[in-house]
């Protein structure tokens, strides 16, 4: 994988003392304001209510909050459209969690926490499609693939699969799924947990063809204002969660079914 | 059936509740010119529009060469192609050159070949003193010249009869003469014409018969000389007196 981004290296500077609730520079003092886009989908957010603590990203957020000394009632959720999460200037959130992939270029505009998840990409198709029985990435070369805008899936498709036709790019998973149902695309590429969710909840007769890794890994971090002092504290919280095994158990609880898709090479 | 080119019989016409024509009878024989005089709003334009089938009449008949043209079965486009009409406000097409104005109908309505239509348009324009102005736009011409173009446009389709609706009343007085003298020439060449006009001197000189339209009816008609010197009806006398006030008699 690619080296840790600049923001994670500053984690060492944080001490337990500066990361207490009262020491933090918050958007609203006493409250941890967490942003995410609307709607949120399982397995990341359940019922589009991040505040219910259910779903992977909701659970991770509450775990981080707890590490920083917030009670669940001191966590406030706000809607942050993906495209405004990286706007310059003051932020309305303390951190934003929205399956955002960490890249060095993005890190010039915002600060990222250390990754809380590394997502494999998955290929989802309908039974009976021409790529249903694909076993390798090469089998997907001639397929018309659909992806969602703003996700790593697009670069994954372009860099790893290198299809002969341009991929179709949609606004949200709803449109992506519609295109798949309409057979405008042969298959769609999303992150694996989303693929599993779509297969089980939104599509009948769908099949996960397989999963594949993005070179360097598609690592997700929470987004903070560029240079935010909170970054170090969040990193500290994440590494504590990781070392205590709590992050692992949260991941298992919500993303468990990820494993059973064949690897595409 | 009479031998008239144009014959109007008992024509009535209302706009909403207002009856504008109340039973008009009129005939224009070949090579004749009939002058239609009367106050503003008496229905002159309406009558000419009805004859050219630009408006539907309510009742009565109009005959062109003995054929009932106001029958609903009759195709108005065909009738209009046999008549020529010139309007008070010229109504030239401002987006076309003079020549295009003139050649439009021969080409599009009569299927004349484009080259020929333009050639003939050029000739006619030259005959009416407009040589060299063919490619100008109408608003570059004086009012008198514009109205001459409108006359040429109506003549270009060799109409059976001409309907002239106060063709000089939008003109500057010193330009009136040139247009009237053209109409005089047309009369001499034997054109059949129905002329709504406010130019009494001209009517007196050119018309074979003068009809006085009052409130939608022709209440008096006859020989021009008599009409202007010894009108019988009081309304006619009043009308002529008002023109005298305006020094138009």
């Amino acid at each position: 994988g690619s080296s840790t981004s600049s923001s994670t290296s500053s984690a060492t500077a944080a001490t337990a003392a500066t990361c207490t609730k009262d020491q933090l520079a918050l958007v609203n003092s006493g409250t941890l304001t967490v942003g995410t886009d609307k709607p949120g989908y399982p397995p990341y957010i359940v019922d589009d209510k991040p505040a219910n603590g259910k779903g992977f990203e909701s659970a991770v957020s509450y775990a981080i909050a707890k590490q920083l000394g917030f009670t669940p009632s001191q966590v406030k959720w706000i809607v942050v459209p993906f495209n405004s999460s990286y706007a310059p200037g003051p932020k309305t959130f303390d951190f934003d969690i929205n399956q955002v992939s960490i890249t060095p270029k993005r890190a010039t505009a915002v600060s990222f926490s250390s990754p809380y998840y590394t997502a494999p990409q998955a290929v989802l198709t309908l039974k009976g499609s021409k790529v249903e029985n694909a076993t390798s990435l090469a089998d997907l070369k001639d397929a018309k693939l659909g992806v969602q805008v703003g996700t790593t899936s697009l670069s994954a498709v372009q860099d790893v699969i290198k299809p002969s036709q341009q991929p179709a790019v949609f606004n949200d998973s709803n449109d992506t799924v519609s295109a798949l149902k309409n057979k405008s695309v042969d298959a769609i590429v999303v992150d694996l947990p989303t693929a599993i969710y779509l297969r089980d909840a939104e599509l009948s007769g769908a099949k996960v063809v397989g999963q594949f890794a993005v070179p360097g890994g598609d690592r997700w971090g929470v987004v903070l204002k560029k240079g935010s002092g909170l970054t170090a504290c969040v990193n500290q919280a994440i590494s504590k969660l990781r070392s205590s095994g709590e992050l692992d158990s949260i991941t298992k609880q919500w993303m468990s079914s990820s494993a059973n898709a064949p690897e595409l090479q | 059936m009479s031998d008239a080119v144009l014959e109007v019989r008992g024509v009535t016409k209302s706009y909403g509740d207002v009856q504008v024509l109340r039973g008009i009878d009129l005939a224009v024989r070949e090579h004749e010119a009939i002058a239609l005089i009367g106050a503003s709003g008496s229905g002159k334009s309406t009558l000419l529009r009805c004859i050219d089938l630009l408006d539907d009449i309510d009742d009565g008949d109009v005959f062109l060469d003995g054929e009932v043209i106001t029958d609903p079965a009759c195709e108005p486009v065909q009738v209009r192609r046999r008549l020529g009409m010139v309007f008070q406000a010229f109504n030239l097409f401002p987006h076309m050159t003079i020549l295009e104005n003139v050649a439009l109908a021969p080409e599009r309505a009569h299927g004349v070949d484009r080259r020929e239509a333009r050639e003939r348009g050029r000739e006619l324009l030259a005959r009416f003193g407009l040589a060299g102005r063919e490619d100008e736009y109408p608003d570059r011409l004086s009012g008198g010249q514009q109205q001459r173009v409108a006359l040429v446009r109506a003549l270009a389709t060799r109409p059976r009869a001409l309907l002239l609706d106060e063709i000089t009343s939008a003109l500057d007085p010193e330009l009136v003469g040139e247009v009237l003298s053209l109409v005089r020439d047309l009369k001499a060449e034997g054109m059949t014409m129905l002329i709504a006009t406010h130019e009494m001197g001209f009517a007196r000189e050119v018309a074979n018969e003068v009809c006085f339209l009052h409130d939608g009816q022709i209440i008096e008609h006859g020989d021009p000389e008599r009409m202007f010197t010894a009108p019988e009806r009081e309304e006619t006398q009043r009308f002529l007196r008002r023109l005298l006030d305006a020094r138009r008699l």
Binding site: P88, G89, S184, V185 | P94, A109, Y137
Partner: protein, 282 residues
Amino acid sequence: MTTVPVDRRAARELARRRKARRGTLIAVVSSVVVLGGLAAIVLTSSGWPAVKSTFFSWSAFKTSFPDILKAFWIDVKLFIAVEAVVLVLGLVIALVRTTRAPALFPLRLLSTLWVDILRGVPTILVVYLIGFGIPALQLSGLPTDPVVLGGIALAMSYSAYVAEVYRAGIHSVHPSQRAAALAVGLTQTQAMRRVVLPQAVRRVLAPLLNDFISLQKDVALVSVLGPLEAFRVAQINAAENFNYTPLIAAALLYLAVTVPLARMLDRMQARSRDVTSGTVPL
């Protein structure tokens, strides 16, 4: 009558020129002060470097521009095709709406409904309905290419706007022009086509251009159906690098089309005002 002082003309000329010069001076100075002031405030603000690097980054521009330019061809092709359809379809609808024959009432009703609904409903929804709805019907023979479907949706939506513009133009031509056209023997259709419409169109060039420009920008909506057109490519680039500069790059491409169009139209209008200002100068 007395004679005119010889130096009057010169004096008047001078006074006029002095007045004009003072006016220009005031206008220039005030513009420079206001604009310069604004620029100074913006450029010296503490946030300017951040704004500059997210919106006006030269390196982000350079890397994204070639891709966006390539994708722009989809926009251009789609725009031209849709515009052609819109001009015709809008005209047909406007013509139906301007008929008065009682017999045509049902058609008139239909075209009124078309205009009201398609103008009132967000274009993006029409794109969704046509782009996702038509293929979902699984009828054979219907187009399934998202670019074509998106084009159809745009044409439907914009035909409603353009029909209203045409209609306003047709109403503005004096009825006497139609009467004159019929009187020389043209048919109703010919009168409309050769006499009324040419004048009507000339009068609504400005609002037509407004709708052209809107359409050109709304071509980007087709991207919700999947195709990678310029604005979508710019968005992807922006999202990838967390930098809005690619959107500015796309906007420059739009401007490169719309500004010359606007200037051309200005000149056309100036000319047509000279040539066809009306019959009698009142």
